[in-house]
Amino acid sequence: MSALVGTGSLVRLALRRDRLMLSVWILIFVVTAAGSAGATVGLYDTVESRIQASAAINKTPSLVALYGLIYDESSLGALSMIKLGAFGGALVAVFSILLVIRHTRAEEEAGRLELVGSTVVGRHAPLAAALAVTIAANVLLGVLTALGLIGSGLPVSGSVAFGLAWASIGVAFAGVAAIAAQVTSSARAAIGMAMAFLGVVYVLRAIGDTAGDSGPTWLRWLSPIGWGQQVRPFQGDRWWVLLIPVAFFVTTTAVAFVLVAQRDHAAGLLPDRPGPAEAGRSLSGPLGLAWRLQRGQLFGWMAGFVVLGLVFGNIATNVGSFMESPAARELIQKLGGVQGLTDAFMSTELGMMGVILSVYGIQVVLRLRSEESELRAEPVLATGVGRISWAWSHIVIALLGTTAIIAAAGLAAGLSYAAQTGNANDFGRVFVAAIVRLPAVWVLTGIAAAAFGLAPRAAVAGWAALVAFLLLGEFGPLFELPQSVMNLSPYAHVPRLPGGDFTAVPLVWLVLLAAALTTAGLVGFRRRDVPIT
């Protein structure tokens, strides 16, 4: 076992480095789960109301694709946790992927693992330590989530099953990330590969769940997300299903350890292809450099949003027709008929896309920060490139990139929606509804830019703001917060299109706010020391 020597010290090092980040991540999961359980428990106090609501979900393919099926329509726990089972599970998977890569490939790429590796540390120790930390974090997350759910008034057995189902998804993806970390030689590429796998298996279970009894329902058994759902918490608690992700983890981890032995330090299994010996014409200024660094990510996001747009546009018209119960019909009438219901659906989904798009925008702007702290900004700023034009080169990609992505999604959603309804006007309505998301997204990129320029060590404020606005939007109505508090979120000021009234004034204010924040960031950056590491 000499290959594992030093695992213990690496585990302690990882815990020392990540104690704050891990605590915050886990806390967010637990609070979100307990909060949404607590908020819905009181809403459905009769069996009839639960069956009605659950049946409505089960009959709506778009919701089933997104969240999954409810197997026991009378179960309170199943209904309250339907939104978090698969979707939250996917976020747990992201947590696991980032954690494993952070302590394996990212460390190796930065050269720090070499320093560690030259001390008394076995060949397999870094991966073993990363996995040990990740598994422990997932188990803790599962247990605390279970306790949170019990505390919110859900049955004990189902709560434990739900917590363990979440943990099992995280454990399975730790194995996936372990392999990805060996295959590629860059952390970015490794994360991309593991995320792509997550996307594929999420779609596999969506197809399996919506297939109907005669369709390929077995597809859900090919997906770690599907396994988590098939534990069926609060609806029979099938404990034996948990063995599948555990077996999957053992297998993938064994493969990863074999791969470690097959490759050189700092190298991946996929060879690095040589590139051009000379720079192309475009690589001559800060914008050319920023574009080169950011373009891959932009194309990836665009492709993902086009697919989302196509799916939402396509299923929107089905939303009304699947609600056949009298209660549902009554609800539809209240919302303004079938048209009102599909509009409300589109508006909700586009709003969600706006929030997700902010992740891209913040990430692009905060590239400035990582370029600075990893000392790649210094050589560029020591040439004729001015600070403003360097910083602006990434910010402008954030602004135009978010525009391009949401426009592509609006185009896809509008076309597929209009194709369903046969009404050409619907294309324009949906496209405009997509575009109006932009000013709020730009406020978030502006916050990131301001943090970078004025308080670079606190640049994570961009992410903190996003999480805060997201929680405000999700839980504000449930906790009946006053409107003035809810209005702190820029997303609260976006017109509810399609269907709602279009008002330009709040959008103009959001654009002005974004411009002010961005300017403050640029001015701050021009005046401060570089690099601040």
């Binding site: 860059s186 040589p274 590139g275 690589l283 990893e374 004729g384």
Partner: protein, 312 residues
Amino acid sequence: MNAPTDTAISVSGLVKTFGNTRALDGLDLTVNTGEVHGFLGPNGSGKTTTIRVLLGLLRSDSGAARLLGGDPWRDATTLHRRLAYVPGDVTLWPNLTGGEVIDMLGRMRAGLNKQRRNELLERFDLDPKKKGRAYSKGNKQKVGLVAALASDVELLILDEPTSGLDPLMEEVFQQCINEERRRGRTVLLSSHVLAEVEALCDRVTIIRLGRTAETGTLSEMRHLTRTSIAADLAGEPNGLGTLAGIHNLEVEGTRVRFEADTNQLDAVLRQLTSIGVRSLLSQPPTLEELFLRHYQDDLRNGQKQVGAAVSS
């Protein structure tokens, strides 16, 4: 003092603090146009901080700094087109090739001499087609050096540029710097490789704890130091022990070994010849001795601190 046009860099009384740490504490530095100036100091003495102030990346708290006749902070971008900088730890973009980085940085300055670029690639034995993440530390350093040396600039600012280079490449580097000198370019070379500074530099500035400890030509500095002498004398070494400027005298019969202050050398030799010299070996002080003498105090203090920490 030189006229301003002959001075590429002039810094006086520079102070820069980071929180409670005083990184620069009244630093002075003058680099004449056309010279290779060595900038010596141990790790953490303030070399990189000085360079970052000169590049307009850091803003000094007080003191004056002029670079190529301009203000390093206010005129940063116009000045930067006339200089090339190689950081001590060259970090490359993982997915850009070395060749791309060299061309891009050159274009961001005044431009690149393509013929010289290809010649330098060959001399440094660097493959420009590799991606940034695939280079070793030494090869990353070479990318930075080729990018700087192939640029059409007046001033080169090199911050410990040879860390990670093998002796063969160190030799190529020294040739290149000598060529730059012949072309009339100014070089500020921060280093702690003393042999390199001794081989290349016209003048040297030694700093410690953010202050200038010593500055001048190497021969000027040697005057302030001791020459070690070993001699076999014709008779008893009388009178040497009382002579001013003699240190660490060891006597073994007629053989003597000692160190003499360089400015007292004349009197010492006269005393030796009055006794009669059979053989004489004299060694001029190396920069290393000079350097060590400046840092002996620090070293001793450091050892004391370590000792205290161990015993406590």
